[in-house]
Symmetry: C2
Subunit: 439 residues, 2 copies
């Protein structure tokens, strides 16, 4: 059978990785797919860049500075979009779909924001938009959720899905350094970008979480409902206290099904140090899935980088190649559930989210302080799991008070916090972090 | 569309789990598969058992004591075989295939021994034999290897794929107990069977490893070539020494591609305590896959039990349901590679396997002993990674000498061991364990 023809938009890190993997492993890939997979054309953002690409891919593969030429090329069966960002990616993807081409993309931002539009267009044209590479790089987590766990009612997902922040948190804990210092080091080593905002503020993780939440629970992608909180204000002190209490702090993306809706949130989270995921260090990713039949499963690997991401892109190419001839109704649905089975379960606001809390209060070292604070918690019906009060050194007038609570609704906790903050014996803004047992 | 009709052979632990999961999650499963999945008939091994099953499944589903009736029932689309063992499972599966039915099975022994025959028959009839449940219970590792990592040249797989033995090893290490004591406890708790031979001697793990090796490397299933070694002769002393050196001992199934062939071996293995897989405790399973593009990935979850295994059975049912109408040439091949891409790379004998070693020698406490032993190793071109010599107590005439080596070929190590064993200062049989860095 004639090799399937692929058009590659973008030959940056992941694009070049994809090109290399397809070249190097072409025999193995053909042996699995039953058909060759060939790059027929490469598109760059302009003519100059196209010339640079031409030098990389050799003369046999035409490179163009006009991606329109690629998405309109009738010889191309599958368009691989690896330029990232919203535009022109969105327009090119929609145009490829309109031309009846399958699409493979690593673009989490595009799908988290415009997934509904894109998947609807693809459904109408009977083509597939595959996006394994959009979440957790080379870990086949989309496949696991969408195909591997189809027997299950999924209860929750918690993932370390941003390597930059996990690297930073690992270094902060391992070396006792503060955020700003480690960020600079991460930038020097290439683990963080020059403008690291999307990573360190949790936006990248929230894009990925939004996609996982949709396929786990059968709801539309709705990034605008996600709670997004990064690690830039996390203090080394709290990492140290957490450790003393038996916890590690990780930036987790958490989505959980509750009776009244779905939680969708990214924030620094205390988790027991004994959990496997607490021991995922450096730039690695891991996703824990809790589901009713299978129980807990965990998926671990490299969440970024040229070839790990290319591994996911090529897996999608093989899937699409295999199924290009299958009746569209018999393919795996984009969002795991058939369109008529997508539910409108609401995403809960943070006030309604249930979780446990870590609180750090700087309090005056005088009698009655702990009593007043615990009274506020008791009156709010929030129960305490553990208290750690640092012994104050001689002559010190203030001390740190750490409280771990049991699960409560966040709105209630915020009301109690406002009352505590108003106490004259509470001397600084209270640090509030969320805590999950993940069991 | 009419629900797909499933015949279930066996309603033991996994069969009942499958029945329950299909009932409980039928709405979610239909929402994903786009079509209902219905148990149309259940078969037991005899009429009496069929009567007991009838009470469980209710009157709507006929139960028969004659499985022939089920595999010959023209109303049934998919046969699920959950009775285990070789016969009558083999005959029933082949008959179902001959009747043009798809088969889903959790039977690792059957496929490891008779997979070539069964897959060939299925290919000829254009039906699918799905076996996610045969390896590592609910962890979707077959899907990950066969579809998630298609871009890669897989280099090696190392897995904790038997929960019984991992439970026993965890307890031996955690409580410092010996094998026999912990085995009794495991039997009392239901983690080990009354006749635990298949588990503790590594046979069950070798069945699963054989299947993973075939789909990773594109070779036929060949259980007869596997090296199978269990944990029944493992001593608490060696677990303790390993820990002092920074290692844990796990029963691993390891398959690795070498230039001259494929390693296929199950044995107790020292691995660095810092590896994620070293921290997989109790009856849990985990599989590490090393591949050229994606790097290291790990998959973790429950490897046995009613609903975790049912999770895999039902995932296969959904896959088969979805693709029942697709051209057989476009389905995922049974052994990951297309039949004409299956290679005849040989499985290496243990003498040719490369690994590092842990040796424990009981030696006379006198001058020159260490020198004689290290000379034998040096003459055999085996280099030493670490030595630990226990200080002998006053009056003791013997001491333990622990040696960690670098990688070598096992045949060479065995020759060296024979020379050491012949020394008059070596007072007991030498303990030899294999060691892998898994990096």
């Amino acid at each position: 059978m004639k090799p399937i023809q692929v058009g590659l938009i973008g030959l940056g890190t992941v694009g070049a990785g994809t090109f290399n993997v397809l070249q190097r492993n072409q025999a193995e890939i053909r042996g699995r797919a039953g058909r060759g997979i060939e790059i027929a054309m490469v598109a760059a953002r302009n003519a100059e860049r196209a010339k640079a690409y031409q030098a990389i891919v050799g003369d046999a593969v035409p490179c163009t500075g006009d991606a329109q030429q690629l998405v309109n090329n009738p010889a191309i069966d599958i368009v691989v979009e690896l330029i990232g960002g919203i535009e022109p990616a969105r327009t090119l993807v929609l145009q490829a779909i309109a031309n009846g081409k399958h699409v493979v993309t690593a673009n989490k931002a595009l799908l988290a924001l415009h997934g509904s539009e894109i998947f609807a267009a693809a459904r109408e044209k009977g083509v597939t938009v595959a996006f394994e590479a959009a979440v957790a790089g080379g870990i086949p987590i989309i496949k696991a959720l969408r195909e591997g766990l189809t027997a299950n009612r999924i209860e929750w997902i918690a993932g370390i899905i941003n390597g930059t922040t996990n690297f930073i948190l690992s270094e902060m804990r391992g070396k006792g350094l503060d955020f700003a210092t480690v960020l600079k080091e991460a930038q020097r080593l290439g683990y963080a970008e020059a403008d690291p905002t999307f990573d360190i503020e949790g936006v990248d993780a929230a894009h990925k979480l939004t996609l996982m939440s949709a396929i786990a629970f059968g709801v539309p992608v709705q990034f605008d409902k996600a709670h997004v909180e990064g690690i830039s204000s996390l203090q080394a002190t709290d990492i140290k206290y957490a450790e003393q209490l038996g916890y590690r702090i990780k930036l987790l993306g958490i989505t959980r099904r509750r009776d009244n809706g779905i939680e969708l949130r990214v924030h620094p989270t205390l988790i027991p140090a004994s959990r496997l995921i607490a021991n995922v260090e450096g730039a690695m990713n891991a996703v824990v899935v809790q589901a009713d039949a299978v129980g807990t499963t965990l998926y671990y690997g490299k969440g970024a980088g040229a070839e790990p991401t290319a591994s996911a892109v090529v897996a999608d190419l093989v899937d699409v190649t295999r199924l290009a001839t299958a009746d569209p109704d018999h393919r795996v649905p984009h969002l795991a559930f058939q369109p008529d089975a997508i539910s409108n379960t609401p995403v809960l606001g943070m006030d309604e989210v249930q979780t446990a809390f870590y609180l750090r209060l700087v309090v005056a070292d005088q009698p009655g302080v702990l009593s007043r604070i615990t009274t506020i918690l008791a009156e709010s019906d929030i129960s305490i799991d553990a208290v750690l009060q640092r012994e104050s050194a001689d002559g010190e007038r203030q001390t740190d008070l750490i409280i771990l609570t049991h699960d409560t609704v966040e709105g209630r906790m915020n009301n109690a916090l406002a009352k505590m903050q108003a106490l004259s014996t509470v001397l600084a803004p209270i640090v509030k972090l969320r805590k999950e047992e993940l069991a």
